[in-house]
């Protein structure tokens, strides 16, 4: 059954088929897995949520939302190491042996037998609920694997604190009520435990530069996916954190500007404009920065600025699918 689902996943249009990125992430998993490397088959999946999962047959899914959130190779390794920890400790097999879980598993499989594809597998990833002790054991094993592979284990604690920031930003957000944290140890406890582990295993690298180099070609697409989620508060928390790490990177500034513009609450247009202007100063700013600026200026009745911004967009992206629409805005605004 697992093999059949893996075959479906291999054919899925949601699979990120870039061989360079795939081999890179597979290499990280292999570095962590050591002798178990041949068992681990990594699949990069285009889904804008934080998740990685590993099935008992060695099929490992890594979602694009997780890769967007990782600041460096060590942070991705922390999550992959945790999943490999579950695999090596045979937690999923143990859970499936449990009679109750077997029933749940059957229902999960019947669900994704029906809907098929990645959603089913995603449900599976989230569906096998480990005990909190199993999660703690996977954290410990993950940290050991990270250390053995030469990564800075302190990054594993940062992964969870960063995720917590996003969940807390959600309106009415109580992370303890989130299904993810409901099945995992409390985030603060986990963070402290991981920090203690890191102190006992000092040293290691984050490989931040390599991570940025390997993922930069995908960043805009992953950011667009994040924007489309429409979860403005969570996205602002994520992007503010990313901007703090890479203040010169125009893609993060542009997308945060878009989030503000689309939310359009009090002060959002000012914030959007500030982000667009900062993004425009960066090297290789996306042309859509000028489209966003045009819309904000237009909303603020600053017509000459709106015209100039829209014109800049049309000049920078003459073949964009929305250029006829933007040209109609220019006509409305007058030449």
């Amino acid at each position: 059954m697992m093999d059949r689902e893996e075959t479906r996943l291999r054919r899925s249009p949601f699979l990120i088929k870039d061989p360079g990125l795939h081999d890179y992430v597979q290499g990280i998993a292999c570095r962590l897995g050591g002798d178990h490397c041949p068992d681990i088959r990594v699949y990069l999946v285009h889904t804008p949520y934080f998740n990685a999962s590993m099935a008992p047959n060695g099929m490992m899914q890594v979602w694009s939302g997780l890769m967007l959130r990782a600041d460096n190779e060590a942070q991705l390794a922390a999550v992959l190491g945790h999943e490999i920890g579950h695999y090596l400790a045979r937690h999923s097999v143990d859970r499936l042996r449990d009679a109750k879980t077997r029933t749940a598993f059957a229902s999960i499989f019947s669900a994704f037998g029906l809907v098929g594809g990645v959603v089913g597998l995603g449900v599976l990833g989230a569906g096998i609920t480990y005990t909190q002790n199993q999660e703690r054991e996977a954290d410990r094993m993950g940290a050991l694997l990270m250390h053995k592979a030469g990564y800075d284990t302190a990054e594993s604690a940062k992964v969870w604190s960063d995720l917590l920031l996003e969940l807390e930003a959600k309106p009415g957000g109580d992370p303890s009520k989130n299904s993810f944290f409901a099945s995992h140890p409390p985030a603060e406890e986990r963070q402290q435990a991981l920090m203690q582990l890191a102190q006992s295993m000092p040293g290691g690298t984050t490989s931040a530069v390599e991570w940025r180099e390997k993922t930069s070609a995908f960043r805009r697409e992953w950011l667009q996916d994040e924007l489309k989620r429409g979860q403005s508060e969570e996205s602002i928390a994520l992007l503010t954190r990313k901007i703090a790490v890479e203040p010169e990177q125009p893609d993060y500034l542009y997308i945060r500007g878009e989030v503000h513009r689309l939310r359009a609450a009090a002060g959002d247009y000012d914030a959007a404009l500030a982000d667009y202007q900062a993004a425009a100063l960066g090297a290789g700013a996306p042309p859509e920065v000028w489209r966003g600026m045009g819309t904000v200026y237009r909303a603020r009745h600053e017509i000459p600025e709106a015209r100039a911004s829209y014109r800049s967009y049309v000049e920078a992206a003459p073949r964009a699918p929305d250029v006829p629409m933007i040209k109609s805005y220019l006509e409305e605004l007058g030449q």
């Binding site: 949601f14 809907v115 990645v118 309106p171 489309k228 689309l262 006829p324």
Partner: protein, 201 residues
């Protein structure tokens, strides 16, 4: 004994049946202010969301969403779960309204690619036309879609049609385009080329 075993199954089956109405050819009012002209019959599925949901082939094969008079501050989809809804505001520009539909259609993780966005007339009001490709998350089916719409008196009127790229979209595209050509929004207030809100203050 058998009939007692059968009863829950029959009740379950009854619960699965979605109420469907046939929308006949000719002029059909949709809500209070929109009239559309049909050149063939459609199936209307009873739903609870803000849009009427019609189909030719049956859901989830093809899906026509018709919005008639959605008001400022209303979500463009039925609200469920804790995720923030996509909400229409009457001051939105056409590309911002199109972004709303994009957000709605990708809530389940489907991928959306805008292929065209241009000004168009809908129901006698200046509005928008857009086309897109969608890969549906639930079954990885590649879909093609189109949308038309306009804002009149602060209310949103729009149709969005989506169907599998292979066979089905082309089969019904003309029918939807004809429906759009024959659409009429009633009670239109005189429009200006440049909205008053754009005039320099």
């Amino acid at each position: 004994m058998k009939k007692y075993l059968l009863l829950p199954f029959v009740l379950w089956l009854a619960g699965c049946v979605t109420p469907v109405m046939t929308m006949q050819s000719g002029e059909q009012p949709v809500g209070d202010r929109l009239v559309i002209a049909l050149d063939g019959s459609w199936n209307r599925i009873k739903t609870t969301g803000p849009a009427q949901q019609w189909t030719m082939e049956g859901l989830p094969i093809d899906d026509l969403m018709i919005y008639s008079g959605l008001k400022d501050g209303e979500a463009i989809h039925a609200i469920s779960g804790s995720a923030k809804p996509f909400v229409f505001h009457s001051v939105m520009l056409p590309d911002e309204i199109i972004s709303l539909f994009e957000g709605m259609l990708t809530r389940d993780g489907s991928t959306f690619q805008l292929t065209k966005s241009e000004p168009a007339t809908f129901g006698g009001v200046k509005g928008y036309h857009f086309e897109f490709k969608l890969v549906r998350k639930v079954d990885s089916v590649e879909l093609t879609g189109l949308g038309y719409g306009a804002v009149s008196n602060g209310e949103l009127f729009s149709v969005v049609y989506v169907a599998p790229r292979i066979t089905f979209f082309a089969r019904h595209q003309g029918r939807v385009e004809n429906m759009v050509r024959g659409a009429q929004i009633k009670g239109i207030q005189p429009a200006t080329v440049v909205p008053a809100s754009l005039s320099p203050s």
